[in-house]
């Protein structure tokens, strides 16, 4: 579900990851962050690894730092009224046009980073700082929304 179109070039790259061992992919599938992810200045290149077939989750795995990987999801699968307003500068930086209403055919996708504690029922999504990927050129940025409606922790499953 959270999957980017497969790209091919002539160059394949290999790198080591803590969770998935040795990974080899076509370099054209590497996602490059135009600004550092807060807290992770050491890595700007990532790849998206689907969790399982039909899973709403995927791993955003660093190419440069073996142990850095985030679980991500399409926020609208869980929060259908999510209305992120991304500031113009971030959109310009990513060469993405338009508002953040429907991403499917607009050449970009938005993903939320998840935090999964020991009890996975209590997992949360960071709706305050989603990741936007321009799917035309595979550049990305974790943007910070100015809206006070969203925080870094929204429960995905029932709060009871």
């Amino acid at each position: 579900m959270v999957k980017l179109a497969e790209r091919t070039s002539t160059k394949r790259i290999q790198f080591t990851t803590t969770r998935f061992g040795q990974v080899e992919i076509d370099e054209a599938n590497v996602i490059r962050f135009v600004d550092e992810i807060p807290g992770f200045p050491e890595t700007e290149r990532f790849i998206l690894i689907p969790h399982k077939e039909d899973s709403p989750f995927a791993w955003l795995q660093s190419v440069d730092a073996p142990d850095v990987a985030f679980v991500v999801t399409d926020p609208w699968l869980f929060f259908e009224n999510y209305k992120p307003t991304v500031n113009e500068i971030d959109l310009e930086k990513l060469e993405v046009a338009g508002g953040a209403e429907d991403s499917s055919d607009e050449g970009w996708v938005m993903l939320s980073i998840l935090t999964i504690p020991k009890d996975p029922k209590k997992m949360t999504a960071n709706l305050k700082a989603p990741v936007i990927i321009n799917t035309r050129n595979n550049t990305a940025k974790q943007v910070i929304l100015s809206s006070e409606d969203y925080t870094t922790k929204h429960r995905l499953f029932n709060r009871s």
Binding site: F57, F70, N81, I116, A129, T152, F157
Partner: protein
């Protein structure tokens, strides 16, 4: 760190295109206005910090953590408002 004293409605220039105003002073709250080019990100310090912290927490998810998640998911993920 440079420390300047300002009164209500006074301001400080940073470089040529950033200006910081003291808009309101009330009890222990100071309302600050910021004029800056739109490509300069301005955030409350604690928001940036909370994102930093959340990212660090999120990045420490083990592969095993996701293994059990399948059981939590209904056929289609449930939807709820934030």
């Amino acid at each position: 760190m440079l420390v300047l004293t300002r009164k209500l409605n006074e301001s400080i220039h940073i470089g040529t295109d950033i200006e910081i105003f003291v808009v309101e002073i009330k009890d222990d709250h100071v309302k600050i206005g910021i004029k800056a080019p739109k490509d300069i990100p301005v955030h409350r310090a604690e928001i940036y910090k909370s994102i930093l912290e959340e990212n660090s927490l999120a990045a420490s998810t083990s592969e095993a953590a996701l293994q059990n998640i399948g059981e939590l998911l209904p056929e289609k993920p449930s939807k709820q408002d934030p």
